[in-house]
């Protein structure tokens, strides 16, 4: 069940003596509807990996294919939820989503259909009440909800989430994680989420991809999380499977691949 496949992917910035080998020989296959978390210490190149899948950065060696087609440029089929929401501050919440919707569905949906589609996506993240507000007028968590709605509204084949909740407080983060789980359950999107939060990774993902430290980072281990869905964070906390999964990610990050700052 191959949907997104990454084969022997390497990324080098610069060339010659100054070349920085960020990623080396990454091979990963993701099935349709799967939720994959990528976890690793900061600076290990996980964001670079996401940018490569998004097409925002060029691949040095190897290939990425999505649904049978090679990825070599950014496009709305791989919508990104950015770490710092990246909403355009001069547009209202509604217009921010409309920008993408008009671009993707400009020729296939009528004006009324597009409007319904925008409102539907705002409803999905429970933000339709703030449609006319500007990003500066809503809270950080709400902005990130709108960022998710904007990405979903492009009807992407893969939703790429780049540490989307990293800048949020723990309570807001928990609400948004629940929102993402609910959306995943309802729409069955394929999602890839970069995170450095072990609990987040275990709670949300079907598989956790653990990255070794850079330079020339690669996939160290892939852990399948076979916890039944829907998952409830309170009930999971005491479940042995959850605890075991959490422990093995922690072991990977803090025993076998400890973050050494001096390595840079």
């Amino acid at each position: 069940m191959k949907y997104l496949s990454i084969e022997h992917l390497s990324k080098t910035f610069g060339s010659g003596a100054k070349a920085a080998h960020v990623l080396s020989d990454i091979t990963l296959t993701i099935g349709k509807g799967e939720f994959v978390s990528i976890i690793g210490h900061s600076g290990c190149g996980k964001s670079t990996l996401l940018n490569l899948i998004a097409g925002l950065t060029d691949v040095t060696r190897g290939a990425i294919t999505l649904d049978g087609r090679e990825v070599n440029a950014p496009g709305p089929d791989r919508a990104v939820v950015f770490q710092n929401h990246s909403l355009l501050p001069w547009l209202s919440v509604y217009d921010n989503i409309k920008l993408g919707v008009s671009k993707v569905f400009g020729s296939t949906k009528t004006r009324a259909e597009r409007h319904d589609w925008i409102m539907q996506n705002l409803d999905l993240v429970q933000m339709s009440h703030a449609a006319d507000k500007r990003p500066a007028e809503i809270s950080g968590g709400m902005r990130q909800r709108v960022g998710i709605a904007r990405a979903l509204a492009m009807e992407p084949k893969v939703l790429l989430l780049d540490e989307p909740f990293g800048a949020l407080d723990a309570l807001t983060r928990a609400h948004l994680q629940d929102a993402v789980m609910e959306i995943h359950a309802r729409l069955g999107n394929t999602m890839i989420m970069i995170t450095h939060d072990v609990d987040e990774a275990v709670l949300l993902a079907d598989r956790i991809v653990m990255m070794t430290n850079g330079p020339a980072a690669t996939i160290g281990e892939v852990l399948s999380v076979d916890l039944p869905r829907p998952r409830d964070r309170i009930r999971l906390a005491s479940q042995p499977d959850y605890v075991r999964a959490r422990e093995s990610v922690l072991r990977f990050l803090y025993e076998r691949h400890r973050f050494v700052e001096a390595a840079e």
Binding site: P74, G75, P76, V80, F82, P89, W90, K103
Partner: protein
């Protein structure tokens, strides 16, 4: 967990048991906001008025001595008061009120500055997109922008062989540099995030220009335009002094040739006032257009 579930949970929390003390409500004072506004207005208007009175007094005292070359404010009022009181009189093709002259000059500025704004923003947008172009062009712009308006006039007259287009060209070439430089700086300062958004949406060049670049760089663009409009108003007076016509600049030159110093002083006040209004106007448009850009 969705919002409704959350609400239900919130309802279960025990109600606060502390006694609620009602605060005495004061009768709203209907005039209060007006009084506040009046005080604020007086605070803004009175200090400059006071300074003006002081300056005029110093001028009056300084210029009233025997053999003084300059007229006193009172003398200016006696000689040329009608220019202030009747800005829009028409007694003949060359004998018209200063209001008309200012409007004629403003028309020239509108052409010259309008052209400079359009060309400047487009050029700045193109140059700002590439670091190499920026490195190539920026030093040249920095040199050209220091050339005073009058120095362009001979070249302009030689090129256009007509005073009308020459005056407009001088305004254009004076006003364009800050517009280009600021727009380019604004485009360079567009956050990578917005570029990524544009890339994911596959916006083309034109869409990127209108939907991302212009709004994102609006504060920079408008500060360039504001400097530009000030410079073009400086240039108009210089240009008209030499090219003639019925503008306010030529009026000063004409009055100087017929030794009407009081008229010149009134014309200066007109020029200053108009320049001030132009500056505020562009500043205001900038604030309206770029509202919400800065977060």
């Amino acid at each position: 967990m969705n919002v409704t579930a959350l609400k239900r949970k919130l309802d279960l929390t025990p109600k606060p048991a502390a006694p609620v003390v009602a605060l005495p409500t004061r009768r709203p004072d209907r005039l209060a906001p007006w009084r506040k506004r009046g005080v604020a207005l007086a605070g803004n208007v009175l200090p400059p008025l006071a300074v003006l009175v002081v300056l005029l007094t110093i001028w009056q005292v300084g210029a009233s001595g025997e053999g003084s070359g300059l007229p006193t404010p009172v003398q200016v009022w006696i000689d040329s008061g009608f220019l202030i009181l009747e800005p829009f009189y028409v007694y003949g093709t060359q004998d018209i009120g200063l209001g008309w002259r200012v409007l004629t000059s403003l028309e020239r500025v509108a052409y010259g500055f309008g052209l400079a704004a359009v060309v400047g923003v487009l050029t700045g947008a193109v140059i700002g997109q590439s670091a190499l172009m920026m490195r190539g062009f920026d030093p040249i712009f920095q040199i050209l922008r220091t050339v005073p308006p009058l120095a362009w006039l001979p070249i302009s007259l030689a090129a256009f062989m007509d005073s009308g287009p020459s005056a407009i060209f001088v305004i254009f070439i004076t006003a364009i540099w800050p517009v280009i430089i600021n727009t380019a700086a604004g485009v360079r300062a567009i956050p990578q995030d917005y570029r990524n958004v544009a890339a994911v949406l596959r916006l083309n060049q034109v869409e990127f220009f209108w939907k991302i670049m212009v709004p994102a760089a609006a504060p920079y663009i408008f500060s360039g335009l504001r400097i530009g409009v000030g410079l073009s108003w400086l240039a108009i007076v210089a240009a008209e002094m030499l090219t003639g016509g019925v503008g306010i600049g030529f009026f000063i030159w004409d009055a100087w040739n017929s030794s009407r110093l009081s008229d010149i002083i009134v014309a200066l006040a007109y020029i200053g006032g108009t320049g001030f209004i132009l500056d505020r106007l562009v500043g205001w448009i900038g604030r309206v257009v770029s509202r919400g850009t800065a977060v």
